[in-house]
């Protein structure tokens, strides 16, 4: 038998030129997955390791706060909205309270504004420390978690000492802050506003926070694996991010100094010296770095605020029954996750006619189908984690 060499060559060429057929596969991630920070489900269509299409499925935590707000009175609503972004519960209260105060035309005493500002920045530190704990963990580094959560505990202790609550302070009142805050049972009629030793403890805690930032930077920024998994991954251009409503550190990491603390006047941030942190590449690494740097800036603000806090009353004079005059207002604030705002429509009653809650994470993760197109499967986790969302803030 003779070998037909031409035939063999032909067959071998056919064999190598045929591409391996990898069928498209649907990959379900979540709803119960540690990196989804709650219950988010992603339906990904993948071809091998390459992601074609991602459909986020949300709504597992929808609690209907916008409907509930229509049957609650204004003081009752602050207890609800604490639970929107529970990692920084205190910060959720501010824009709502300010919205009601604007319609009622109430001037809040300065000391109350400073206490609000101190606690808001502490909530920012706590939230960003959780991000600094969980994000390296999702990429495989366990150690930063212990460093970050230890200092977050100190910050939560401080919030608790003032408000009585670690996660859900429910501390703001229309016209000021809760009198007798943290004072416990006092014999005197005069309310004690900040607990004894608060300034000393805060200063010490902020110094610890600043030093843990250095430690975290050493641990994470020097790690080649983390660098390889985050640099150049999940790049978000500014105009795309803006068109989707992405805000906060996610947008600042793309290079734009869009910080509502410098734009809106919901708290007296204009009296403080701090930098709006921006980065230039808009990748996962920059988003991590911006949040780390924002912890330092927030600690700077807290230290300036406890140095400059004025004395005075904690509460403006308000009627015993809160009724907000007819009108509508939109107040937004720079929350740790981004723009958080409340569009409040009042028809003159004890509760809102309509309260639209604009939460940061909702718009931030609506970018997911766009930003995850064409990435590799392991990058899904790296990109999702870098957006720093909380499902309570998505679903409301």
């Amino acid at each position: 038998m003779t070998i037909d060499h031409d035939q063999v060559r032909h067959l071998s060429e056919v064999a190598v030129s045929v591409e391996l057929e990898t069928p498209e596969m649907t990959l379900n991630i979540g709803p119960q997955h540690p990196s989804t920070h709650g219950v988010l489900r992603l339906v990904a269509t993948v071809d091998g390791e390459r992601v074609f299409d991602v459909k986020p499925v949300i709504g597992y935590m929808h609690r209907g706060y916008e409907k509930l707000a229509e049957v609650r009175t204004y003081p009752q609503i602050t207890a609800l909205i604490n639970r929107i972004d529970w990692v920084s519960g205190y910060a959720n209260e501010i824009p709502f309270i300010v919205a009601a105060e604007r319609l009622m035309e109430i001037e809040v005493p300065e000391r109350a504004q400073y206490i609000r500002l101190i606690l808001t920045e502490m909530a920012r530190i706590a939230s960003h420390l959780v991000f600094n704990a969980s994000y390296p963990l999702e990429l495989g580094a366990a150690t930063p978690l212990f460093f970050a959560l230890r200092e977050r505990e100190r910050v939560l202790d401080l919030i608790e000492s003032v408000t009585g609550g670690r996660f859900h302070p429910n501390f703001n009142r229309i016209g000021g802050v809760k009198p007798n805050a943290g004072g416990g049972p006092t014999q005197r009629k005069v309310s004690q506003d900040l607990p004894k030793g608060f300034f000393v403890d805060t200063r010490a805690a902020m110094e610890r926070v600043l030093s843990v930032c250095d430690e975290l930077e050493d641990l994470v920024a020097g790690n080649e694996i983390i660098l390889a998994r985050t640099k150049g991954i999940g790049v978000l251009p500014v105009d795309v991010g803006a068109a989707y409503g992405v805000s906060g550190p996610n947008l600042r990491a793309s290079g734009v100094p869009f910080d509502l603390r410098r734009i809106e006047d919901y708290l007296p941030y204009d009296r403080f010296d701090f930098d709006v942190v921006t980065a230039s590449n808009g990748d996962c690494w920059d988003r991590w770095w911006v949040r780390l740097e924002e912890i330092r800036q927030a600690a700077r603000i807290v230290i300036q605020a406890i140095d400059g806090i004025p004395s005075g009353p904690l509460q403006a004079k308000v009627p015993r029954v809160i009724k907000v005059p007819q009108g509508e207002v939109y107040v937004r604030a720079e929350n740790p996750k981004g723009e958080m705002g409340y569009h409040l429509i009042s028809e003159g009653g004890q509760g809102p006619y309509r309260l639209k809650i604009r939460s940061a994470s909702y718009s931030n993760i609506s970018i997911l189908p766009h930003i995850l197109e064409g990435v590799l499967v392991p990058d899904i986790i790296a990109i999702m984690g870098s957006l720093d969302f909380v499902l309570g803030d998505v679903d409301r």
């Binding site: 949300i58 709504g59 209907g64 916008e66 409907k67 509930l68 229509e70 049957v71 009175t73 604007r102 000021g176 009198p179 009629k189 309310s191 105009d239 803006a242 068109a243 989707y244 409503g245 734009v256 100094p257 869009f258 509502l260 410098r262 734009i263 006047d265 941030y269 204009d270 709006v276 921006t278 005075g312 009353p313 904690l314 509460q315 403006a316 004079k317 308000v318 009627p319 015993r320 029954v321 007819q326 009108g327 509508e328 207002v329 939109y330 937004r332 723009e339 705002g341 569009h343 429509i345 028809e347 003159g348 009653g349 006619y353 309509r354 639209k356 604009r358 718009s363 609506s366 679903d395």
Partner: protein, 194 residues
């Protein structure tokens, strides 16, 4: 590099809102630092396209709706003489801090509006939410499915006529464990330090 507070302080919101209203053929209302431009539903996408292209409002903040009706199952009714309608609100801004809320009024029983997804991709989820919560049809939306609610859910929960079922079972505040709300003529509280 950053916006200083003095820069934003000199910004004239009234003039800016009036300028946009003139360009899109709407009416501007500014109150409590919130600018609102009311336009006709036919000119909805044109108005938002103008805002994006001519005024640089490329930041999509949010979109939602309000059910103005006297057929109220939960909460208080609106003031007397409020015309029955569905009002759609859309807040857009730019990255220097300007923000304008566009508003348009739709028919209460069959609200239909052109989708904003071609103008702002971020409107996708917000319109899906408004669609399921208020029963608005966004024409031209690529995927007008339920976002939060399960498939087959009947009704539009944020309509005022939709009952809050937990409240039907147990009224709130519960009379057992909560004291009565104070009446209007109760004395006002004053801060003891004030």
């Amino acid at each position: 590099m950053t916006n200083s507070p003095s820069e934003t302080a000199t910004f004239d919101l009234d003039a800016f809102a009036a300028e946009i209203a003139e360009a899109v053929g709407g009416q501007a209302r500014v109150a409590h630092g919130t600018a609102k431009v009311v336009v006709a539903p036919e000119g909805w996408t044109d108005a938002l396209t103008t805002a994006r292209d001519a005024f640089g409002l490329g930041y999509f903040s949010w979109l939602s709706a309000v059910d103005w009706t006297t057929d109220v199952e939960v909460g208080d009714p609106p003031a007397e003489g409020t015309p029955e309608r569905i009002e759609v609100l859309c807040a857009v801004g730019d990255l220097t801090g300007r923000l304008v809320i566009f508003s348009t009024d739709l028919d209460h029983d069959e609200p239909r509006l052109a989708s904003l997804v071609p103008v702002y991709p971020g409107a996708n989820w917000h319109e899906r939410e408004a669609a399921e919560m208020f029963g608005i049809v966004f024409e031209g939306h690529p995927q007008l499915e339920h976002l939060y609610l399960p498939e087959g859910f009947v009704g539009h929960p944020l309509r005022k006529s939709f009952p809050l079922l937990s409240r039907e079972v147990k009224p709130w505040p519960g009379t057992v464990d909560v004291e009565d709300m104070p009446s209007d003529d109760a004395p006002s509280t004053e801060n003891p330090e004030a």
